[in-house]
């Protein structure tokens, strides 16, 4: 097994009456980049803090390198936590911030300073070694915080929303930087975020969490092409969720509309089921075409988004759909709000959803 693997077995976290994390099982491979993705309050930060050892575990076990660390203090785990607002000590300059843990370990002043300078070089901050946190920009503070987390050669780096304090431009840049450092050092990164864009760009493995549960664990491509639940599909965006009743020939929705399915989703007791359909996999045209639904949809809004156009529409039976049309197709035959348009899709693009989870709130 590769160094730096993390395993959660039946982990539960309760705060008095309320439960933040409900029975989580998760395996994170050593040397991989894992993102915990979910809305605020889904338990992702709590999970991270339990791995770091800053939060006690109510039930279950946490294993690092197959070693049970559930009750060990943070420093004995081989993890390093990077805090959301970096928590750089304001009274110490960059060099002493990075060298802090070496000072604790009793390393001589000269050695800890030379090792800290090495780390600052890794994050391209060596020229700022004498600067105090208040003199650094957000991105610079983050680099110093990363160097501070890296100096003890941890096997796992835990990052709590590391990019949320940065402006969008810097966020994209630091994202690439994080990935570069992770690949260069080959250590496990576990990164908590609420941005699916960030998770998709960085992660080898995305863990989507909701309400204390894990909804889905997969590669970014897997998450986006085959979301397993209605929550995942709505949280990552760009998907329509079509709910209906299962029949022998497919999914019946609205009054009479029958949607043919490639594979049969699991229905609940009432035979209710749902599928997801990517907005960019729906063809839309003012003229009817072969795979189109028999009746046209009324276009309700048209939003220009640059490379694509976001159209929202509704059929007369109430089924609403979002469609991402490429700008080339849109410009060839522009649709306006109020127009009638035909839509269609390949039935292989319909992705059956696991029942029993709620849709992301507010999405």
């Amino acid at each position: 097994m590769k160094k730096g693997s993390v395993e959660l077995v039946g982990v539960v976290k309760r705060y008095g009456e309320s439960t933040a994390v409900r029975n989580i099982d998760l395996h994170i491979e050593g040397g991989s980049y894992c993102c915990l993705l979910g809305p605020s309050g889904c338990g992702k930060s709590t999970t991270l803090r339990m791995i770091a050892g800053h939060e006690s575990v109510s039930e279950g076990d946490i294993l690092l390198n197959n070693r049970n660390v559930t009750t060990l203090p943070p420093r004995k785990r081989g993890t390093a936590l990077m805090f959301q607002n970096y928590a750089l000590f304001p009274h110490l300059n960059s060099l002493d911030n990075v060298a802090f843990s070496l000072k604790i370990a009793g390393v001589s002043r000269q050695e800890r300073h030379s090792r800290a300078l090495e780390m600052l070089k890794l994050v391209n901050m060596e020229s700022f070694f004498e600067a105090f946190p208040e003199q650094l920009s957000g991105g610079q503070q983050q680099r110093v915080a990363l160097a501070r987390a890296l100096i003890n050669q941890p096997e796992v780096i835990l990052l709590d929303e590391p990019l949320s304090a940065l402006d969008p431009f810097l966020r994209t840049r630091m994202r690439a930087e994080l990935k570069r450092i992770q690949q260069q050092l080959g250590i496990t990164f576990i990164h908590v975020t609420h941005s699916q864009e960030e998770a998709f760009a960085l992660a080898d493995q995305v863990v989507v969490m909701n309400n204390g549960y894990i909804e889905q664990v997969d590669k970014p491509i897997g998450i986006f092409s085959r979301p397993s639940t209605a929550f995942v599909a709505s949280f990552i965006g760009g998907h329509n969720i079509i709910e209906g009743t299962l029949t022998d020939s497919g999914l019946t929705t609205g009054d009479e509309r029958l949607i043919r399915l490639e594979s049969t989703p699991l229905g609940d007791t009432d035979n209710k089921a749902a599928v997801s359909l990517r907005c960019d996999r729906i063809q839309i045209s003012p003229q009817p075409f072969e795979s189109a639904q028999p009746d046209p949809m009324r276009v309700e809004s048209v939003e220009y988004q640059g490379s694509y156009v976001h159209l929202r529409g509704q059929f007369s039976d109430g089924l609403g759909l979002s469609v991402f049309q490429s700008d080339a197709d849109y410009l060839a035959a522009p649709l306006n709000a109020g127009d009638q348009a035909f839509v269609g899709w390949r039935h292989t693009d319909l992705n059956p959803l696991r029942p029993g989870s709620d849709i992301a709130p507010g999405l």
Binding site: H54, P74, A80, L81, N85, F89, I104, F128, E130, R148
Partner: protein, 281 residues
Amino acid sequence: MAALGKTKRKAGFIPLTIIFILFIVFLYGPTATIAILSFQGPEGGLTFPMNGVSLHWFRQLFEEQQVGDFGGSLTRSLLLGLSVMLCTAVFSLLAGLAYRRSFKGGDALFYLTLVSLILPSILISLGIGIMFDRIGLSPAWYSSAFGAHLTWTLPFGLLIMFAVFNRFNKSYEAAAIDMGATAWQTFRLVVFPLILPSLIGVCLFGFTLSYDEFARTLMTAGTFNTQPLEIYGMTTNVTTPVLFYALGTMTTLFSFTLISSALIAIWAVRKSRARKAPTGV
């Protein structure tokens, strides 16, 4: 923007400026007047015009008077102030740390501490004086007055430390613990340096509150007077108040020196940090 500000002032600017200037004159005028008058010639004189210019009264200040012992009382006041300051800082810090977590009886203890702020000073002074008398101890500036001063400075110190720890970002401590620091190392290397400026504030506060305290010392000082008591005694006995003018000038000068040295120290630290930080990028 600057040009705009010059051309268009808000309607209230001139009257408010006049009020502000009057306030400043009211605040510092008497001090300035006394400072000038303290340089009177040896013949003395309470008002303008001055009878010559000399340092006569400053010399007088440090010679033992028939009716008062200025040097001795000053020493006592300084010693008392410093010990009160030290005790206040240590106890406020420890209490502040204790109150970061709720503990049994914490609220009651807090209100009990605040009671001594609300009670009239003279009553506390009287009470402590009577208590010492009952026990059969003779009150002195270093025992009963010391305790009386602490009833005044401790609640203030505690309130300041509450405010400090309320604002204190706990992630600094979590970060230190994440890097392997023990509880004591976290305190010594992170918490203490971060709250040090506030602790110095508590010290200055404790010292000044004790140094000029009159009412709480009145019944507790015993045989030897602290400076405020001595001055009060002198006002009823000394023939010329020019001596007080000199005294006022000296104490004001002392305070200003203290404040300016603190400001200079802060400025020096800022400057040295700014010099070290690279300017580029």
